[in-house]
């Protein structure tokens, strides 16, 4: 039985040594190159005494970064991807949580690391791939690995202002990749166009699927997602036939009428997720590519990538939303009502996940882990964990699961999961801010920030850009005389939401 994700690579490199595994618009690595360089990194880390440790990979989005991930795992360590676009304050919070002994850098990021308060080892990718591979050492660390050992820690937004590191193990990732590739019908002829950042679990869809089947993944330059016609030109140039993108990346193409000019002619499998696909835009895609497969994916990072899927095979009316469907094989969804009983048909309940796909929890944070990874309330007889997503859903008349809303103030914006509370905590840290409230305007998809204080909007935004990732910066900001409160003293979000509607009508 397979118990390590690297077995995919060990196997694929024999079948397709010279085929391109990972590439961007300038450079590509064959499976043989990935295999050799990753094993050099694994050997190097072992000789440095780094074993079963978190290893930070702080590099720009590049095929080398992916090789570094596997290199870390070859040494029986687990990788923690950090992006150069993350603000320093956030990176320092992450390092404080991890206390890593090693960081792997590229030539650009190694300069940035020097400014960190960090005393561990710093390695340059181009140097450590020169290490001669020690087969005996690699074999030994593999023999001592088990499938519940972690592969990675990825950090997600936390409502208290501190990002949470989700730890996933080999067994969960293997379970995910086996079932995902089955649903998407991936094979050696699949050519992926990667959109999602490498510092989230979302990129496993392409990275690990390539590894398993010997398929090729092209990293699409981020800037192309601003210029939709150029984006489709890229898809055609590299004959990309499979994409797993956030909805906003897809709607940008359809909404700007790119299909009148150019059609992504090789594209046959389109997976999307993280957000609701506006039906009008979906219909444009469907009409343009009537023979393509469209699959809606749903799942929290805590349940390893995605855990539910829905193949769109029937017609949808403009007022309908695409269901999140059903769980992958070997995953179970419990829809629990307020009394922790199974919601009956049509009733609202919290989506809870049960199965191998559950990650190990939050790194160095047992309290947060115990809040969300809890004993299955339906099982009184033996320990069994479920993950409470905080998402509310219900079953429609066809028995398909539909996402309805959130229980709390977590939102999805441009495919990113954001706790509005984390933005508020960071605004409150700015000198001169008295109070603040952040809400999400679903209609124009803007993060709206309101605050009371003697600080200019310009200063607030400039300050936030130092602390928060780009995608968490409010899109609209307004100073108020006071923040409306409810009778029992809580921020009255309903009044602020009404304010948006009044403003809109006044225009």
């Amino acid at each position: 039985m397979q118990n390590n994700i690297l077995e995919y690579l060990d196997h694929t490199v024999k079948q397709f040594p010279n085929k391109i595994a990972y590439a961007n618009d300038k450079i590509g690595f064959s499976f043989q190159e990935v295999y050799n360089q990753a094993r050099s990194i694994g050997t190097f880390l072992n000789t440095e005494g780094i074993y079963k440790e978190p290893v930070v990979v702080f590099m720009s989005k590049h095929p080398k970064t992916i090789v570094a991930f596997y290199g870390v795992v070859y040494g029986a360590n687990f990788y923690v991807p950090i992006d150069e676009e993350m603000p320093l304050v956030r990176i320092e919070l992450i390092l404080k949580n991890l206390k890593p002994k090693a960081i792997i850098c590229d030539e650009r990021s190694i300069e940035i690391v020097k400014t960190f308060e960090y005393s561990g080892a710093v390695y340059l990718y181009d140097d450590i791939i020169q290490t001669s591979i020690d087969e005996v050492v690699l074999h030994k660390v593999r023999e001592n690995s088990i499938d519940t050992d972690p592969i990675y820690v990825v950090f997600t937004s936390g409502s208290t202002g501190i990002p949470k590191g989700v730890v996933a193990c080999h067994r969960s990732v293997i379970d995910y990749i086996e079932n995902l590739t089955d649903v998407l019908e991936i094979n050696e002829n699949s050519v992926f166009g990667n959109q999602v950042p490498l510092y989230f679990d979302a990129c496993l869809k392409e990275l690990c699927s390539s590894l398993k089947f010997g398929a090729t993944t092209y990293i699409i330059p981020k800037s192309l997602f601003m210029f939709p016609l150029k984006l489709v030109e890229f898809l055609n140039e590299y004959k990309i036939n499979t994409v797993c993108w956030v909805v906003t990346a897809l709607t940008m193409i359809s909404a700007f009428k790119v299909f009148d000019k150019l059609i992504p002619k090789y594209l046959h499998t389109i997976a999307f997720g993280s957000e609701v696909f506006p039906m009008k835009q979906f219909q444009i895609w469907k009409e343009t590519l009537p023979n393509a497969k469209f699959i809606n994916l749903y799942g929290p990072t805590e349940a390893t990538g995605m855990c539910c899927y829905y193949k769109v095979e029937r017609e949808f009316g403009f007022d309908e939303t695409i269901p999140i469907g059903r769980p992958f094989k070997n995953t179970d969804i419990l829809l629990l009502d307020n009394d922790n009983k199974l919601a009956v048909k049509g009733e609202l309940g919290e989506i809870c996940v049960r199965g191998t796909s559950l990650t190990l929890g939050y790194y160095n944070d047992f309290d947060k882990t115990n809040e969300s990874f809890v004993q299955n309330p339906l099982n009184k007889s033996y320990p069994e964990l479920i993950y409470r997503t905080g998402d509310l859903g219900r079953y429609n008349e066809s028995g398909e699961l539909v996402f309805v809303s959130r229980k709390d103030y977590q939102i999805k914006h441009m495919g990113h999961r954001i706790e509005l509370g984390e933005i508020e905590v960071n605004v409150n840290m700015i000198d001169g801010i008295k109070s603040t409230c952040c809400i999400y305007n679903n209609e124009n998809e803007k993060i709206m920030l309101y605050y009371v204080g003697e600080v200019s909007t310009k200063e607030v935004i400039a300050n936030l850009k130092k602390r928060l990732p780009r995608y968490m910066i409010p899109n609209s900001i307004e100073v108020l005389e006071n923040i409306p409160l409810t009778a029992n003293g809580k921020i009255d979000r309903a009044i602020l939401k009404e304010r948006i509607n009044i403003k809109k009508k006044g225009k």
């Binding site: 016609l229 150029k230 700007f256 441009m414 310009k458």
Partner: protein
């Protein structure tokens, strides 16, 4: 031009748009900004920017973007 600068300032109050000419190259604007801008330009100027005009050269400065709006309104 003032209306356009107002729209840009609403998106990023911390940026001096009047003299900036590398809005794309320096990563000031992202894909969300481009989508918002195109929608705002459509509603404020009644100008629909076609796909082939959504290119870096037209979005690198407020001046270039304004020139595009003027060119497209003349064509109507």
């Amino acid at each position: 031009m003032k209306i356009l600068l107002d729209i840009l300032n609403e998106l990023h109050p911390d940026i001096e748009f009047e003299n900036h000419n590398k809005l794309i190259d320096d990563g000031v604007l992202d894909s969300f900004d481009i989508v918002s801008l195109i929608a705002e330009i459509d509603s404020e100027f009644d100008v629909a920017i076609p796909a082939e005009e959504i290119i870096p050269d037209n979005f690198n400065s407020a001046k270039a973007l304004y020139a595009l709006i003027e060119r497209l309104s003349d064509e109507d």
